[in-house]
């Protein structure tokens, strides 16, 4: 993986020192809260409902064992012994004390990590396919591209105060696991006549105005990437709305002015920029690429799998690796009844150990709030499974009902309008029988605690949005969303459900699907697309109406 240079090290250390001084001045009263707030946000420090929260960047979701172990240390030393992996492949600590945060940032810098640009109207942490560098369907590893963009966008003076935050996702596989069509810019690595390049998608996003991104350029030569991105950002910076924060994302600019207008502006800007910035020097590209070379694959005898528990785990929690004798293991942070995305410090240390022993010292955080061991030899699966099981990390539910994305919601977040976590926990408990989950099959439930949609509910097969209605929590359902290469925004089913009605309603929807499906192989999403919302609506609301009668 990418190694910090002396420049990176000095830059991050200097930022920590700068922030240490800012914290001291806030505590002494030399800075007001109004002055301090934008400074702390630039360093990932939020004030949430019950405490401060530190959001740490995990660039394109990639970690090594030492970094994961350091996160465990931070959780124990300065937090409450756990961390929360987010839908943007980051990690959040929910209980830091203000005076401790500079020390936490120093501890992060010890392992080449930081919290810069995890907040604010800037280019945020670049996300990528969590199976990058490992998946069999991959055309090319997207991480060198993501790292290049990270280096270019970090502290970029022109883009430090954009109209609104800006998110970039990259995938190197045709099967889109990075939700590229729901990002401000989505990059799909493609080849045309053998030549590598990018399909550039712009203007996707979730939030209060969900939109699927549009293709701005169907083939951008690889060497033009940074000048072209700079052109998009320059056009957005100049034309994006600053009068209304709810209309300030690039998706609104494109929606209001049209993708053709955007394209002509970007092309003109690109021509101007390209004359003075023709991309990145080759030695820089090569140095980045060298950080992502494949590991040296080992050879070992693979024993037949006899343990039924391991068999189930392999069925659900592994994915096809580009090396036939290897597999990708997804560690579920969705134990039955647990908080989606949370891991204790002990669990983090187990994952760090497993990465070092069995996955060429690599881990990935997925936007689905799980952790990946990307390179596990099949001969090592029994040992990996046993260690995960001992740590409470072997739940075989990836892609099933209880593999739920949930934002922190009103249990933590100051912006939330309702809780998400208890709803996820209740659904998980309701489907605690893994055989029942396997019978239901692939199903993505995603829960957001407010319209900002951090829980990606718009692209869920069953999306749940928590709102306030008449002084109580109310939950709206959307159906038919899709975060893949066939991206679609879910359709609202109807009126919201009370907190004690939403889980039974989800159960009725799933029961309706089981009745409706033509074969056990027809997924929930396929059945929904085939029959439409009517039978699901009837199932969800019939009982509510019967109870009200």
């Amino acid at each position: 993986m990418y190694q910090y240079t002396d420049f990176d090290e000095q830059f991050v250390r200097a930022r920590v020192q700068e922030f240490r001084g800012q914290v001291e001045r806030r505590i002494s009263g030399a800075l007001t809260e109004d002055e301090f707030k934008p400074l702390r946000l630039m360093n990932g420090l939020y004030l949430q409902l019950h405490a401060y929260m530190l959001r740490v960047a995990v660039p394109y979701g990639t970690l090594n064992g030492a970094q994961m172990r350091q996160l465990a240390y931070i959780a124990d030393r300065w937090d409450k012994g756990y961390g929360h992996f987010t839908t943007r492949q980051n990690i959040q600590f929910n209980w830091p004390k203000l005076a401790d945060v500079p020390d936490m940032l120093d501890a992060l810098a010890d392992v080449s990590m930081h919290a810069i640009q995890t907040s604010g109207n800037c280019i945020r942490n670049v996300t990528a396919d969590h199976f990058a560098g490992a998946a069999a369907d991959e055309i090319e590893d997207p991480r060198p591209t993501a790292e290049l963009i990270r280096q270019w966008s970090t502290d970029h003076p022109e883009f430090a105060y954009l109209p609104r935050k800006f998110k970039v996702a990259v995938t190197g596989a045709p099967n889109d696991r990075a939700v590229t069509k729901a990002h401000d810019i989505g990059l799909r690595m493609i080849r045309r006549d053998g030549v590598p390049g990018y399909e550039v998608i712009v203007g996707g996003g979730l939030g209060r105005t969900p939109m699927i991104g549009k293709v701005l350029n169907d083939f951008l030569p690889r060497e033009d990437l940074l000048p072209y991105l700079e052109a998009i950002l320059a056009v957005y910076n100049q034309h994006g709305r600053r009068d209304n924060k709810y209309k300030a994302r690039i998706k609104i600019l494109i929606h209001e002015e049209g993708v053709e207008t955007m394209r002509s502006r970007v092309d003109a800007e690109f021509a101007r920029i390209k004359a003075e910035f023709d991309g990145v020097p080759q030695h820089v590209v090569e140095r980045i690429r060298a950080g992502f070379l494949p590991p040296v694959w080992k050879e070992a005898d693979i024993a037949p799998v006899r343990d039924p528990g391991l068999r189930s785990f392999i069925d659900t929690n592994t994915h096809t690796h580009k090396q036939a004798d290897y597999t990708i293991v997804t560690i579920s942070l969705k134990g039955i009844g647990e908080t989606p995305g949370d891991a204790t410090s002990d669990q983090m240390r187990v994952m760090a150990d497993l990465a070092e022993r069995f996955s060429h010292d690599e881990l990935r955080v997925s936007h689905e709030q799980n952790v990946i061991l990307p390179h596990v030899h099949k001969a090592d699966l029994p040992a990996v499974y046993d260690a995960l099981r001992a740590a409470g990390l072997a739940t075989a539910n990836i892609g099933l009902v209880s593999d739920i994305i949930a934002c922190p919601g009103m249990d933590y977040c100051a912006l939330a309008t309702a809780r998400s976590i208890p709803i996820a926990q209740e659904i998980s408990e309701a489907f605690s029988d893994l055989d029942r989950q396997r019978d239901v099959g692939p199903l993505k439930i995603k829960i957001s605690g407010c319209i900002n949609a951090c829980g990606h509910h718009h692209v869920a097969h069953i999306g749940i949005l928590g709102l306030e209605k008449k002084g109580v929590e109310s939950y709206q359902i959307t159906l038919g969303g899709d975060g893949t290469e066939n991206a679609a925004i879910g359709e609202r089913l109807g009126p919201g459900f009370a907190a004690d009605e939403i889980v039974p309603a989800v159960e009725r929807l799933i029961a309706a699907y089981l009745d409706l499906r033509l074969t056990p192989q027809e997924t929930f999403l396929e059945a929904y697309v085939r029959v439409g919302p009517a039978p699901f609506k009837a199932a969800a609301y019939d009982e509510v109406q019967a109870n009200a009668a």
Binding site: E33, H50, Y52, K80, K97, L98, D411, Y412, I421, G471
Partner: protein, 102 residues
Amino acid sequence: MPKSFTPQIVTANDLMLGDVIYLTEGGWSRRHGDALVARSASEAQEMLATAQAQALKIVGPYLADTVLDDAGRPAPVHFREAFRTRGPSNYDHGKQADLRSV
């Protein structure tokens, strides 16, 4: 007819710890029930001004509606404020755990 005033309290977060706190007669408390209650709009504004003057101790003070129980102690009206009195629902290690040991 003028709208009747709903009793209010002042709440904020502690600057150093981030904890939810409530303005009291003599300072700040972590218990909602200890909160000083404003019974008129002018009292509420005075209390908010008092809080805003304590920027070295607190962050983000605001007024929140409250109801008084039979003993005259304030209790939260909105569910968000109720959650703030006790911490997150998924773990017993928020405010609820800290207050239990008080």
